[in-house]
Symmetry: C2
Subunit: 339 residues, 2 copies
DNA sequence: TTGTAGGCGTTATCAA
DNA sequence: TTGATAACGCCTACAA
């Protein structure tokens, strides 16, 4: 049986309240008693039961983190950033994997409420009205990370990157380098921010340049190596006139695509330029190194956690959307098109 | 203010105990009352406060997971496996990052005790006597994952892979393929399982083959791309007679090493064969694809979680060490040496 | 089958 | 400055 505050009180010959006071510095205690109590506490390695504390203070110092996939490096970096500031501020994170499925997401929102989580950082895939409503009903504040909600903005605080703009910039980068036949190899259609928004950015840039894209230049699938490989294969087989450049929805997709091109003897970047998205650590392990759009996921996680803490400590009330800056990283898989 | 069991009881016109009973199915309740109570619960979306429950039942359904680095793909896979079985069994995981530093590890062990965690899965770097003693003193059971303790065996239950044997096998594989000048590019010296043990496996295999290794054939550093690059560079610069094969302590190291060799025009595998360790998803994204030793981290996580659950549910008492099987994966970066 | 009441380990309120 | 004592929300003997 673990030692309790009562044991300490008895041994020190003081009341329970006094022990509580020296632990929390909540009210003055005479130096003499304070010293005595401290000693007994140290001696017994006494640690208050966080459950009992939480029951009464309504604070657990636990932050829930909901992500689609624990082993995805993007979420790894994000979670690391989140954990970094949480730890610094005395919070411990509870990581939950949703698989990107709404049913599971809803369930996790409940579980985290049961556990009396002080707040939740939520990285979803398609944050619709149902999900938003559920979040709003919870006792804890939630801030969305990496993905904005698909419904009305600024109802729930959000920390993300500008997906539309980022892919727009990537596409523009290719355009500025003389490319005109630019294809798109993207993620899931139902993925709001990372799927739809990125595609939108691609379309915007081309439209602005007055270029019409044939449907066969747009492939969507999963955010995976395999999917990139297959998407590129379809692109290759279904187009008699190949693009000179490809915008990928993620680095993994880009790498898969490059792999396919290699397999059929198409040179990257000599014949086709390709730019990824995310800037995984791995991007520089390839030869040529992968050109990409860098998203600072670690920093995004940090910022989101800081934002959430503001809400949890009551120093902030109003939801807003915060963007973390992206950056085009020019490396070896893209080159200017010689006219 | 959240709704409590008392509110439900009042609204249903029954006692608190009855509500508790219908929720936990702990004692018979008449169908009539059961129905009535259920309705009120549903209607109010009532969820019992896990803190209050835990305070009395001494069970939180929380499992602590301590890992050195959240964004390391190896730990990502491990954590995913852990979470997979935990979720299935009704546990939620609390992920803590130690940075591989003992001070932080000790602290986390305390934090997890405060939170009344039911059990802890611990992935350390150098699990020495101090750490083991601390674990033994905790109220919760802990099982070590991925890394055995550096002290007496079978004091704490362990689920891992056989590091010595795995690298021994990798080295043997090279030996069997006709290589004789085999170098080693490993991880940190202070890393017990992944550093020391792997090196040991390498040494064993060569010794057994009656081959003496010059010190200059052994390089140790971090488990990173960068470190692999630099280690290979030293190997290259400090040896007038180059090895014909290299055993790497991790895939990242291997990839870094290959990158260096490419940069100086040494062909892999034509001039030098190289075999990695881990089998990251990324291994097949390279060209040539990386030969490596596959460690089933996801399965390891699953197994460790299952093991821990046995301890938490009291269906097991005695600590043991369990090994998950590794496998040599022959791909493109190794080839037989022509005599 | 149902209800009453005590207790889990803290914090917080109120007297002293 | 210190100490009782009532919460916090729930489970669980023990009674009825």
């Amino acid at each position: 049986m673990a030692i309790t505050i009562a044991d300490i009180a008895r041994e020190a010959g003081v009341s329970i309240s006094t022990v509580s006071r020296v632990m929390n510095n909540t009210k003055p205690v005479s130096p003499e008693l304070r010293e005595r109590v401290y000693e007994i506490i140290e001696k017994n390695h006494f640690k208050p039961n966080a459950l009992a504390q939480g029951l009464i203070t309504k604070k657990t110092n636990i932050v829930g983190v909901v992500i689609p996939d624990i082993s995805n490096p993007v979420f790894g970096a994000l979670t690391k950033g989140i954990n970094s500031v949480c730890t610094k501020k005395g919070y411990t994170i509870m990581v939950c994997e949703s698989g990107g499925e709404q049913e599971q997401e809803m369930k996790l929102l409940d579980v985290l409420e049961d556990k009396q989580t002080d707040g939740v950082l939520f990285a979803g895939v398609d944050i619709n009205q149902v999900l938003v409503d559920a979040m709003l009903k919870k006792q804890y504040p939630v801030v969305l990370v990496t993905q904005e909600s698909a419904v009305e903005e600024n109802v729930i605080d959000t920390v993300t990157h500008d997906n539309v703009r980022a892919v727009y910039d990537a596409t523009k980068f290719l355009l500025d380098n003389g490319h005109e036949r630019i294809a798109y190899l993207g993620g899931p259609k139902h993925d709001f921010s990372s799927g739809k928004k990125r595609l939108k950015g691609y379309r915007m840039a081309l439209e602005e340049a007055g270029i019409t894209v044939p449907d066969s230049y747009i492939e969507q699938g999963e955010f995976s190596f395999q999917s990139g490989y297959e998407g590129m294969k379809r692109l290759y087989e279904e187009n008699s006139i190949l693009p000179t450049a490809v915008v990928a929805g993620s680095d993994l997709i880009a790498i898969g695509g490059i792999q396919f091109l290699n397999s059929v003897g198409v040179s990257v970047p000599d014949e086709i330029s390709i730019i990824g998205f995310d800037d995984l650590d791995f991007a520089t392990c390839l030869r040529p190194e992968l050109s990409t759009v860098r998203i600072p996921y670690f920093a995004e996680g940090e910022k989101a956690a800081k934002e959430l803490i503001k809400f949890m400590t009551g120093s902030k009330e109003k939801a807003a959307t915060h963007y973390v800056p992206h950056k085009i990283i020019r490396r070896g898989t893209t080159r200017a098109k010689s006219k």
